[in-house]
């Protein structure tokens, strides 16, 4: 292994089957630390399952996940979050009956008994949470319960919550799914900004314009494993990618 692979997130031979369906088939991927990575592939190629295995939400049948040289394959999801990997869900998950503010504050990670008993709505954290809400443009919804928000607003709120946890690596599962074009641009811009501030991104996305415009490095999945990777210019003209998408 080169020393580069000790930096950042990589997987070795991740495999996961649901009954007879092999969702991940020995997926070995190394993402570029400090860059915007995209993970693309046709529907059902295992991208979401890959995220679920990496974040510990489901247990892979075999293979390992390594983050900064540390094996996190069997770690609990909250421990993986603490290690610095945050994620959003394809079907946007927020706490429906909590206000936007509480949704974001829930990502605070207190330590010790006293830290946990401290008021959730303390000044410093509320200001930080509002900061994220402002940055994502939903500051005016601070007291609105998440279930009363539109889809796009919920997606932004989910992202605000994830960012509140200050993840070094952010996994986004279809951030542009079902949002309007204006919001799409904002999300794209935001990803670039946050990346410039030092966060690594791995983005699963079907919107090729967005993928090509914001990513530095693209990994293409087909049938549970990577079939190609490289910069957008290379991927754009790769025949295997075309084949996978057209089902050849």
């Amino acid at each position: 292994m080169s020393e580069r692979s000790e930096q950042g997130l990589r997987t070795e031979g991740l495999t996961k089957a649901f009954g007879g369906v092999v969702a991940l088939d020995g997926a070995s991927v190394a993402f570029r630390q400090g860059q915007v990575n995209a993970l693309i592939g046709p529907n059902g190629s295992g991208k979401t399952t890959f995220f679920n295995c990496v974040t510990g939400m489901i247990r892979a049948d075999s293979g390992r996940t390594v983050y900064h040289g540390r094996n996190i394959t069997r770690a609990a999801p909250h421990a993986i979050a603490h290690a610095g990997i945050g994620r959003t869900f394809q079907l946007c998950r927020v706490f429906p009956r909590m206000s936007a503010l509480d949704n974001v504050l829930a990502a605070v990670r207190p330590v010790g008994l006293l830290g946990r008993l401290r008021g959730a709505r303390n000044r410093a954290e509320v200001d930080r949470a509002r900061g994220w809400l402002t940055r994502l443009g939903i500051e005016h919804l601070v007291d609105v319960e998440a279930r009363n928000m539109s889809w796009g607003q919920q997606k932004l709120l989910e992202l605000a919550g994830v960012l509140m946890g200050d993840p070094e690596t952010v996994l986004l599962d279809e951030p542009a799914g079902g949002v309007n074009p204006a919001l799409l641009d904002r999300i794209g811009g935001l990803v670039r900004e946050l990346n410039a501030e030092g966060r690594t991104f791995v983005i699963v996305e079907h919107n090729m314009d967005l993928v090509m415009s914001i990513s530095d490095h693209i990994v293409v999945f087909d049938r549970g494993r990577p079939i190609a990777e490289g910069p957008p210019s290379v991927i754009r003209s790769d025949e295997r990618v075309l084949g996978a998408y057209l089902g050849v």
Binding site: M57, A81, R93, V108, D143, Q153
Partner: protein, 377 residues
């Protein structure tokens, strides 16, 4: 609910000045305290006082239940058994080990809290149904054990617990215990309130909303659930112990009754599991009704039918409780409540005036403000 008053200064962290709602709440709290303190002198006879203690006991148990049920959304039908363990633990420590009454109560509560660790481990390790299954199984198995192990527990003959204050006359005895129960209830409410506003509490509520999501945000869900279950078990057992010292006579059939557990659930659900005083209110209603019907009609199978029907109605039609349902009803008539959305809309207009184009687009994406239909849901 903090209402968004002035957009420039609103912050949930900054305490708003005394609002009418806050003042009303303060007055209400004061009234409750005064009522609690004066009830023993107002009660016309010892019987009413002892009935009041029973209701207070229910309020305490139901509030203790609400540590788990309210914060995490995990519903236990087995808290009757935890109370029974506390009661028997206290009784046995007094009679067999000769411990002073209240030390016995404390030790029993701590022992039950410790026991709650392995129980909670089995119940909470996997998500969902296993918790309910364990809670029911706990009642059933403890009933078996305490009935069968007659040499130790007295079996079906029951266990007599000596009174802590042998010199006191009956009315005085009730009076003292009224205040003891009220004190313990106040403590439970205080702890619930502290957790409710804490980071720990927010984590628990996140678990209630979406456990996977909470975990992925970094909340150690299993540990959180276990801790709050242990706290709940401790308070429940203490309540059971206090009951043992007050009532002085324990019978496994009543101590390990699944019906008791379901009363607690009913009370909490009825009053509203998300609010501090919900279970207390529910206990006042259900507990009083229970006592009333017992006196008027004796114990008939129709009690079961009524309990079942009431539970079914609450579950089907007002799972959030009566208190929140009423509050929502009142809100509909109060113009101030709509301010959340109207102020938001005003803010939006301001932002549109001076904001970036993207933000205008975003505002356009909102479906005419948040959908108003969900308000009463």
């Amino acid at each position: 609910m903090p209402s968004a008053s002035d957009p420039a200064t609103t912050s949930a962290a900054r305490r708003p000045a005394v609002t009418p709602a806050r003042a009303a709440r303060g007055v209400l709290l004061l009234l409750v305290v005064v009522a609690a303190l004066s009830f023993p002198s107002l009660a016309p006879n010892p019987y009413v006082l002892s009935a009041g203690i029973l209701v207070l006991n229910y309020a305490l148990l139901s509030t203790s239940w609400n540590f788990v049920g309210g914060f995490t959304g995990y519903i236990s039908l087995g808290h009757g058994a935890l109370a029974g363990l506390g009661a028997y633990g206290t009784g046995l420590l007094v009679t067999k080990a000769g411990l002073p009454s209240f030390l016995a109560l404390l030790v029993a509560a701590l022992v039950v809290a410790a026991l709650a660790v392995p129980i909670g481990y089995a119940a909470l390790r996997v998500r969902g149904a296993s918790f309910v299954i364990v809670s029911i199984a706990l009642v059933l198995v403890l009933l078996l054990v305490f009935q069968s192990w007659a040499s130790f527990t007295g079996g079906s003959r029951g266990l007599t617990v000596p009174r802590p204050f042998p010199d006191l006359l009956r009315p005085e005895h009730h009076r003292v215990f009224w205040f003891l129960f009220a004190g313990l209830l106040a403590l439970a409410l205080l702890v619930w309130w502290l957790i409710d506003r804490s980071r720990f509490g927010l984590g628990l509520k996140a678990i209630r909303e979406d456990e996977d999501k909470a975990e992925s945000l970094g909340i150690p869900t299993f540990a959180y659930k276990l801790v709050v279950f242990v706290v709940s078990a401790g308070f429940t057992a203490a309540a059971g112990g206090l009951y043992a010292l007050w009532f002085g006579d324990l019978d496994p059939v009543f101590q390990f009754s699944i019906l008791t557990g379901s009363y607690l659930v009913l009370m909490a659900l009825l009053g509203g599991v998300r609010s501090l005083f919900g279970p207390l209110l529910g206990a006042l209603v259900v507990g009083t009704a229970l006592e009333y019907f017992k006196v008027e009609y004796g114990s008939t199978p129709l009690h079961l039918v009524a309990t079942g029907l009431l539970l079914a109605v609450v579950v089907l039609f007002m799972p959030d409780g009566v208190l929140p349902a009423v509050a929502a009803g009142i809100d509909r008539f109060r113009p101030a409540q709509q301010s959340i959305r109207e102020v938001t809309a005003a803010e939006l207009r301001e932002q549109r005036a001076g904001g970036a184009a993207a933000e205008t687009e975003l505002a356009g994406a909102r479906p005419g403000g948040a959908p108003a239909t969900k308000e009463g849901a």
